[in-house]
Symmetry: C2
Subunit: 299 residues, 2 copies
């Protein structure tokens, strides 16, 4: 199959590398520089099962040709891409953003089959063409508005390091992932600690629990104690990891706080719920972003 992957970040490169084992993948990058490097070197995947693979094509042009497009840019980079996708003939679009703030934008794309993905891999981008696959996880694909999911079976590279699952209820999959992200990402970024500290440090653990209660209520999920165990287990199984938001803060980069806690705050407002801990944390991360902007060279 011909597959287009929009976005040359860590997740985009991971998808492109594994899918290139079976398919012809075109990577759409933001910069020409990265496209040239990918054409030349392919993708190098480091980690427990390292490999290097040629990619069919890499380009910074935006003439999305493929029948299947995987959109793997950050949520805050999505808006201009949605404008381009609106003008394409009907095809399959797979969105793999964190959070749920992008769901609202998808209503403009009703001419397409839309599939949502939740990515559990740990992956670190080290160079334009080089990633480290730090944690083998699953990708869960869900129908958003699409007739069927058989295309996922065709797509699946059936690789033990790139496990693909399908699930029908997109809301519960994305909300569960968002719940974990809403707690682990901003708290580790605020305290500048590894994920494990949110369960091992008794004070941080108490704050995490309070945040959980607020976010869980806003997302209207069921099985409270099961979801709390889920969040704590992620902290434990990724105890030595530094979250993506912590890395963004450390590198003085924009975080995904709007897609994550911004969405929770907007939902709470609609539902007239008071979420003081979430608001405190949101303002804290925005304030820290505001600080690092001062030290960031203007573009």
């Amino acid at each position: 199959m011909n597959i287009g992957v929009i976005g040359g970040g860590a997740i985009g490169l991971l998808f492109s590398a594994f899918l290139s084992k079976k398919h012809d993948v075109t990577i759409y990058t933001r910069t020409k520089e990265q496209a040239i490097m990918l054409q030349k070197k392919g993708i190098i995947v480091e980690g427990p099962s390292p490999f290097q693979i040629h990619v069919n094509k890499a380009t910074s042009d935006r003439d999305y040709q493929e029948e299947i497009l995987i959109i793997s840019v950050k949520q805050y980079q999505l808006f201009p891409i949605i404008q381009l996708l609106k003008n394409l003939s009907g095809r399959t679009l797979i969105f793999v953003q964190n959070g749920m703030a992008h769901i609202e934008l998808l209503k403009d794309l009703s001419m397409h089959n839309i599939i949502l993905g939740s990515v559990e891999h740990g992956v670190l981008k080290k160079d334009h063409y080089l990633i480290e696959h730090t944690g083998i996880g699953r990708t869960i694909f869900c129908r958003f508005h699409a007739n069927e999911l058989t295309i996922i079976n065709e797509l699946n590279p059936h690789d033990p390091s790139f496990i693909v699952d399908v699930f029908d209820d997109w809301y519960s999959v994305l909300a569960k992932k968002l719940l974990a992200n809403a707690i682990i990402n901003p708290l580790t970024a605020l305290y500048r600690v590894q994920n494990g500290e949110l369960v091992f440090n008794p004070f941080f653990h108490r704050i995490a629990k309070k945040l959980f209660q607020e976010v869980w209520k806003v997302l209207e999920l069921k099985n409270k104690s099961e979801h709390w165990d889920y969040v704590q287990n992620i902290c434990k199984s990724t105890a030595k990891n530094r979250s993506s938001m912590l890395k963004d803060i450390e590198n003085g980069q924009m975080t995904e706080i709007d897609a994550i806690l911004g969405y929770i705050i907007a939902e709470a407002k609609k539902k007239h719920l008071s979420i003081p801990h979430v608001q405190f944390l949101f303002d804290s991360i925005k304030g820290i972003e505001n600080q690092s902007e001062k030290g960031r060279p203007s573009q």
Copy 2:
């Protein structure tokens, strides 16, 4: 007059230096090492009006002889000293701790005249015998249980760099200082920013305002907008300063969080008030202290 100053920290040394201009001061230090240095070198005060002064005596013994004792240790170091003061003959005790958590302990000292002090100086301890007087402020003395305050007039060195005021209502003086400390100290420590950022960064400013509202209510102060202006003006006039709690966190030392926010939380509990922002901030600082303990050599 013979005056004893208990505690050789920044405030203790500042008081000892200015009072030695007019009185015979004995400094009671925790370590023998510091007592020896002070006996040998006196106190050196750096800053806009620098001076060096001989001190009458410095000792690590605890035989408090003087009729007037100024207790300038941190609140969390106070408990064993109170036990000693209980066994002394009646005299004048002046307490200059931050916060109000120590007020409860003073009920055991009813045989003494007790005066409370609120210190607004900026002062940095650079060595056992060396301080930098970074900000000239006032010291406000209030009667706690004492017949009169005439002793303060005798004590007053009448020095333009060490202004002394008296005020009758100890609660409003200490509560106002606590209000500012409760906001500025822990927030700057959490975000690792200078005081000014709490007004100049719009997100931190919003959080500071919410905290103010909770603390102001717990302390049952009047004139809401006047108190909020007071807090903001301190942030502006000390914009480039790093708060004492930020320095404690940076140096991996114990903070005064219990004396400051711990007291607010205990009071809120008595008054059945909900203060989620204060609780979040308290747990955050306790968690950060907990982190730095891991890296601190055991004593």
